[in-house]
């Protein structure tokens, strides 16, 4: 095709968007709203994943030292712990610190535990964080085998529960995003099909006058792409602005809730919405046109 034909097709796509203003507005808002929801759910999902991660990072192994362990033996154990793969970090909790913590747990009423001070039945211990919650039992075994370690405890039940929940959360949110993605594709494709359907007679006329499939299809596909890109970018930007605001509000009033940084997620959201807009707009118009081109 000569370049003026390409120029014509591009111009035609734009002109058609202008002429069918009603349908243009209807489809852009549809694309935008669908992708807005998709983007929002994706952002939410990222935060769920982050929450799961933070929760898992709380999990730790407590290794109680035998009372016989002296300063030198302690250092030896520390050296050994550093060698064990899967241990991310560990902290030594002396007998005194353990008692202090216990008192704190009982709030203001420290005086009540005063009697215990002289005895201090609490053992010294290590608090060990592992890189992956799944490594817990392995690391626990290894640590238990070290000489000087009396007992190892990692609240297996609680950890198992936690892992079950976080895994379900991750799986559930992937499921939700995929499901919503499918819904979005359907909704946008449906709208584009309706706009193409509304023009089936024009398509037939063009074909009868001798237009090739491409000459009919390219402007319409361009139209679909333009609808998709405008709606998608709008959805992405709105999402970005709103999330930045939510992040600011929540992290100032509830700093203890771990949120994903806007910088970390906004780019992806924009890419997803714009990308989905383009692809669905294009594929949607190509597919919906097919049957009307058979003339």
């Amino acid at each position: 095709m000569r370049s003026s034909t390409w120029a014509y097709m591009a111009g035609e796509a734009l002109a058609s968007l202008r002429r069918n203003r009603f349908m243009t507005i209807a489809s852009i808002t549809t694309v935008m709203l669908c992708l807005l929801v998709l983007g929002a759910v994706y952002t939410f999902t990222c935060n769920v994943a982050k929450l799961a991660e933070v929760a898992e990072a709380q999990v730790e192994i407590r290794a109680y030292l035998s009372p016989k362990v002296d300063e030198k033996a302690l250092r030896a154990i520390q050296e050994q712990l550093k060698q064990i793969p899967g241990i991310q970090s560990f902290e030594y909790i002396s007998k005194e610190k353990a008692l202090e913590r216990m008192k704190q747990q009982f709030g203001d009423k420290e005086g009540l535990l005063d009697g215990i001070d002289k005895i201090n039945p609490l053992p010294a211990s290590f608090e060990i964080k592992v890189a992956e919650p799944s490594m817990l039992s392995g690391v626990a075994e290894t640590v238990k085998a070290l000489s000087g370690i009396d007992e190892v405890d990692y609240q297996k039940e609680l950890v198992d529960k936690l892992l079950l929940v976080t895994r379900t959360m991750r799986f559930g949110s992937v499921l939700v995003v995929v499901g919503l993605g499918v819904v979005t594709i359907f909704l946008i494709a449906n709208t584009i099909r309706l706009t193409v359907y509304a023009r089936r007679k024009e398509i037939a006329i063009m074909k009868l006058v001798g237009a090739t499939d491409s000459l009919v299809r390219i402007p319409l596909v361009l139209e679909g792409v333009l609808l998709g890109v405008v709606g998608g970018i709008a959805a992405g930007l709105i999402n970005n602005v709103v999330y930045a605001y939510v992040f600011k509000t929540v992290s100032s009033s509830m700093p203890f809730i771990p949120l994903v940084l806007p910088q970390a997620v906004n780019g992806k959201v924009l890419a997803i919405t714009a990308g989905a807009g383009i692809v669905i707009g294009m594929v949607g118009s190509v597919v919906s046109m097919r049957r009307f081109l058979r003339i």
């Binding site: 034909t5 006058v209 237009a211």
Partner: protein, 229 residues
């Protein structure tokens, strides 16, 4: 070289079991001017539609130029259609484009240059007497004006074959005479012209070949005929 158009035992039964054409055999030579006449519902439009591939025969073959239209591959159809100018009985104008754009579209499909479009379209609109309506959309035109736009579109890329289905049904006798004169001119310059029409006076006056259909059967075919239905 054989005839430009050949119908061989063509029968057309529409999906609702309505038989529009029965065993049509017909040859039209290059450069001929042929009237198709017949009562309303006789099958004139159906016959014309088979020439440019809007409908296909249920049995039999339709050959146009070197194409076997009855089994032309979908990909080739646009090229056949471009070499044929068609005035549709119901005009078939693109509703949201101007008259100029409607006519230009028949040139665009042939990948014509911008210059060619700018030169050719106004000339043809002038010829059909609707140049002053260039920038109107079809729904801003009277019936006769729309009909002339359809004619202008059919003529714009100098087709080797012009197929006109009732091209003067919405025109006053004077304008109709002008259009028929135009069709004769086009024919004189070598284009084969086939016109389905009810304009008895014009047919009787022009004394061209007249092919008559009745209930889908080819009833008559006279060389210098008069109107029959």
């Amino acid at each position: 070289m054989g005839p430009l158009i050949r119908f061989v035992d063509v029968t057309k039964v529409y999906e609702n079991n309505c038989t529009a054409l029965r065993g049509i055999n017909l040859s039209i030579e290059k450069g001929e001017f042929v009237f198709i006449t017949g009562a309303s519902g006789a099958g004139k439009s159906t016959l014309l539609k088979m020439i440019y591939g809007e409908e296909f025969p249920t049995s039999g073959r339709v050959i146009v130029d070197s194409w076997d239209v009855s089994k032309i591959p979908r990909k080739k159809l646009p090229y056949l259609r471009r070499s044929i100018g068609v005035v549709f009985q119901d005009f078939k104008l693109l509703p949201d484009r101007t008259v100029f754009e409607n006519v230009a579209f028949a040139l665009r499909v042939t990948d014509a240059s911008r210059l060619a479009i700018r030169r050719r379209v106004p000339a043809v609109l002038e010829l059909c007497g609707i140049k002053d309506k260039s920038n109107c959309r079809p729904d801003e035109l009277s019936g006769g004006e729309q009909q002339r736009v359809s004619l202008a579109r059919a003529l714009v890329n100098n087709p080797i074959l012009l197929v006109a289905d009732e091209p003067t049904g919405n025109l006053d006798p004077d304008t109709a005479r002008g259009i028929f004169a135009l069709l004769e001119d086009v024919n004189d310059m070598g284009t084969t012209v086939i016109v389905a029409t009810h304009a008895q006076a014009m047919v009787d006056h022009m004394r061209k070949r007249v092919v008559t259909l009745r209930d889908g059967i080819l009833q008559g075919d006279e060389a210098r005929g008069i109107y029959r239905a």
